[in-house]
Amino acid sequence: MANIPITVEFSGGLELLFASERSLSLEVAEGTTVGELVNILVDKHMVDTRTELFVVDGTVRPGILVLINDADWELEGEESYVLEKKDTILFVSTLHGG
């Protein structure tokens, strides 16, 4: 199966879990869902061992929004959304400072 290029972005401090990389260019197999992408990120790209800061009970933890091309993933079918070529998946965590 062919691979497709996508971009993954982290912000709100989540980049610290991924070796301070704010943006990753990845190739994923065609048909990969966002849910599967989350697992790929944990398995292959997360450098921090505290996976609970990213994933809890098999999905992204409370306080993290997942945006598919700048739209809340809940508008796009959440974990079941099938990635398309050149999609940008942004993970944002809540900020609290003020």
């Binding site: 401090g13 809890v56 409370p62 900020l95 609290h96 003020g98």
Partner: protein, 493 residues
């Protein structure tokens, strides 16, 4: 009396005075509310309002002539009561612009006192106010620029006991707080009171802004999502980072505060708040309120996201909107979960243990004075777990830097630590497990961090590692901050 007691007495009196003034203002406001005729929804220009003074026409002239504002918009600003919760990095610029724009009544709520480390971003406060309430400092500056505004000080922390009572007295709320606990509280109370909240936050180089419980015709019930709709479940304690720990750039939080003021001006001057009622009558609003220009345009829920170091710093994220089963603004499947005035949750549950965790046995912790005297001894190694940036600002002579992130990353003692200890006391080789002795015995590794929290976690990891079984492992109570205050030779920041 000493200067300090005098000073404290003055602060107490000021606070008392401010509280009394606030009480008077709130009573007067209630009186006004009771005597004012019910506002008609069919008028875009409030009828029973005083016109502007000649000074006000001049003062507001540059915004008055814009079609988005005009006389109706300016009068709406004048007749609106805005509560700003948190007079810090967001609240200072937000209050400045709302005061300057001619909002009639500004309530300012904060329990904090001004500190020197606030001044790089909290632009209303001055040196003269260090150690005194932020609210009074801010009002002093605001009044100097615009005395037309009625300023109401609330020198108190917002809690579930007072939130509803305070918020009820205002038309619009700006959430400029710095903790998720308060953000949920503000939103829950505002939903019950039927008020709109402009909520923003910032950390390091980024910021977020959402409008909460906004009058809109595109959602059932006439209101946009609440804070819980955006963030249904609070984040785990360990993921909550404050400006004090994570740092924040002044202009970043400033941009967010200014955007809050802008959003507030847009909401107020458009008339969107007119006819704002408690949720009981929210359905009427959904049916459409003829005559008001505000809540008629359908607007999808969105979040403004500012990432100042990104090549595309501003993004508008498309959000899901109201959750029908939201426990605050919706109808939860279990009705008992619905948050009401008497069941506003206890938000302390969110924040877990306070910042001063105690992981180590007191006998494994040292004071800065003790370690200060041990420095330079051959068998003592000091390892500093602050990040490189902070280590570069100030450090204890001879200490070695092994940033805490390395410890977290591997979930174990990082190689960098063993290397640092080895290089420092090169007589010891922790890997020669069979051949202990030779300077290994009697060695002490002291772990230091900023405040004495991370150092405990790191020390614990080392203690549990067999490679360190012959060492004494300790950490420093109070960290580098305490060191600066008691021992010296490093700076406090």
């Amino acid at each position: 009396m000493s200067d300090t007691t005098n000073h404290q007495r003055i602060i107490a009196l000021e606070a008392e005075n401010a509280a009394l003034k606030a009480r008077i203002a709130s009573l007067e406001a209630r009186l006004q509310l009771n005597s004012a005729p019910p506002q008609s929804l069919t008028h875009t220009t409030p009828t029973a309002t005083p016109e502007l003074s000649a000074e006000e026409y001049l003062r507001y002239g540059r915004q008055l002539i814009m079609p988005q504002i005009g006389l109706p918009g300016q009068l709406r600003l004048k007749n609106t009561r805005v509560l700003i919760i948190g007079i810090g990095g967001l609240g200072c610029p937000a209050a400045s612009y709302l005061s300057s724009a001619g909002v009639g009544t500004l309530g300012l709520l904060d329990h904090d006192l001004v500190e020197l480390s606030n001044l790089h971003r909290q632009i209303l406060h001055t040196l003269a106010y260090i150690g005194r309430p932020k609210v009074l400092s801010a009002i002093d500056r605001l009044r100097a620029a615009n005395p037309n505004v009625t300023y109401i000080p609330h020198i108190t922390a917002l809690d579930k006991e007072n939130a509803l009572e305070i918020i009820q007295n205002y038309d619009l709320v700006l959430d400029c707080t710095d903790h998720p606990r308060v953000r949920y509280l503000v939103s829950d109370a505002a939903v019950i009171a039927g008020k709109t909240v402009v909520s923003a936050s910032a950390l390091k180089t980024e910021g977020q802004l959402v409008v909460v419980n906004k009058p809109t015709s595109s959602e059932e019930g006439g209101r946009g999502p609440c804070y819980r709709c955006y963030w249904p479940r609070p984040p785990p304690t360990e993921s909550v980072v404050s400006c004090g720990e994570g740092g924040v750039l002044g202009p970043v939080v400033g941009v967010m505060g200014v955007l809050q003021a802008l959003e507030a001006v847009k909401i107020i001057s458009s008339g969107a708040l007119e006819g704002q009622r408690a949720p009981a009558s929210a359905n009427e609003a959904a049916a459409g309120s003829p005559g008001t220009e505000g809540p008629s345009k359908p607007e999808p829920a969105s979040m403004l996201f500012f990432s100042s170091y990104s090549p595309t710093p501003f993004k508008t994220l498309r959000m899901k909107g109201r959750r029908a089963d939201c426990i605050s603004c919706g109808t939860p499947s279990d009705p008992a979960l619905k948050i009401t005035a008497s069941t506003i949750p206890d938000y302390d549950n969110f924040c877990g243990p306070g910042p001063d965790a105690v992981l180590l046995d007191p006998k494994d912790r040292r004071t800065v004075m003790e370690v200060g005297e041990m420095i330079g001894r051959e068998n003592v190694v000091v390892v500093d777990t602050r990040d490189e940036t902070q280590f570069g600002i100030t450090s204890v002579g001879g200490s070695r830097n092994v940033p805490f992130v390395l410890w977290q990353r591997g979930g174990k003692v990082p190689e960098e630590f063993w290397r640092a200890v080895e290089e420092e006391g090169n007589s010891a080789d922790p890997q020669e497990e069979g051949e202990k002795g030779k300077g290994t015995k009697g060695k002490e590794v002291v772990i230091l961090c900023r405040r004495g929290n991370d150092s405990q976690e790191a020390a614990k990891m080392v203690m549990e590692d067999p490679r360190a079984r012959d060492w004494k492992v300790t950490d420093v109570v109070g960290g580098i901050g305490e060191w600066a205050r008691k021992v010296g030779g490093v700076v406090e920041y």
